[in-house]
Symmetry: none
Subunit: 256 residues, 2 copies
Amino acid sequence: MAGTDITRLPASATGAPAIILVDPQLGENIGMCARAMLNCGVTDLRLVRPRDGWPNPAAVASASGATGILDSVRVFATTQEAVADLDFVLATTARGRDLIKVIHTPETAAQQIHAHAKSGILFGPERAGLNNDDIALANATLNVPLNPGFSSLNLAQAVLLICYAWWSTREAHQTATTLHTGETSLASMDEVENLAQHLEKKLVENGFFRSSEQKPSTLRNIRNFLFRSGMTAQEVRTMHGIFSSLSRADSKNVQN
Amino acid sequence: MAGTDITRLPASATGAPAIILVDPQLGENIGMCARAMLNCGVTDLRLVRPRDGWPNPAAVASASGATGILDSVRVFATTQEAVADLDFVLATTARGRDLIKVIHTPETAAQQIHAHAKSGILFGPERAGLNNDDIALANATLNVPLNPGFSSLNLAQAVLLICYAWWSTREAHQTATTLHTGETSLASMDEVENLAQHLEKKLVENGFFRSSEQKPSTLRNIRNFLFRSGMTAQEVRTMHGIFSSLSRADSKNVQN
């Protein structure tokens, strides 16, 4: 999907969680996480003991322009320090652990993040995931419920799904569909009714109705379709033109 | 996030949409899309004119074991053929287009997919996205509302977010609106396309197009309306009858 790709760092969306990568291995993955974060207006990236040090040119190469996030990364020696200023922390886990924690989905986690002043989400190293000591620091765990037969996500995909669940619920915008109508607008009921009457007239003139019993139900079905379809004013005009054009041949026929 | 990584292909989750990649460029992206699909129990992958042909070893290398999906890929020469058996088609777009369509988010799109028997989602080539002729074939468009200053997603990320929105709501879709179709059912894309071609033929015969420049955009707008409107099979038959009836007068005229 193509889209705008502006490199400037916008103001972090209010209430966005911090993303905390513990023992991340590949710089490339750190960069892809930054990109996924910025897609969703999340800008606070923290690293605990990045294996290849920091800064890391491989991260810049894979961030697709989300370099503002990389420039403001904070690096910590321990997970405790990385979460010190937060009031709600989630630990991502792939499977059940022995620790007794509430297990959130991205959707229920998003509700909790909205309800807290400053949240953070812990992600473990690519291969092993978080260890139990890190999970114990969290208020709850977070698991993305995927196909049980194929649930492996890479780090940036997990960050994307979780950040998007937060981003898409910060307003109520996700429940509303909109109709893009360009320079025209939806036809009024009146305009659609006129079109239906125009069509009916042409059908009668052309002998469309072979039996009088069939006529009312057929007309009702045509009306039902036209009113349900959400025509624009322009589309109504086009259909008028179509019916007239097809029937102009008919009026020539009558004149002959 | 680590997790299970089983290579077997599970039975496709009931009602899962088909994913249709139009003019995909990199095999690596096709493989990553297959992985994202399988994460969410979506297994019907269709390709329209893959640039590097099919099968493609680069796709296998990047599918992280989701090879069952790649083995059952179907390749099509045109978008029309790829969507012919579907009853609801969404076109992903990054930005507003001139065509008149409902714009869905992944969340509202998921509700529509739950409400239809067999849906499909069109994704355009990596750089350019879908062209207007492909968008005109769809019932509605689908846009992932991201950070306006940084909304670029790669193909597999877009597939993941959209498939996950369907997957994560497949058990909670009782609230989705449904179209009561009585004893008929929604027309297939193929049936609507046949109707569009029938209308085009009649319009040409009746001299509807006064200038040849105007013809392609008018036909695209008519197709856009017909595909957007959600016609039933019965309504398609009725409209065929209408076009034939109106034009029968024309053929009489010619005979006179």
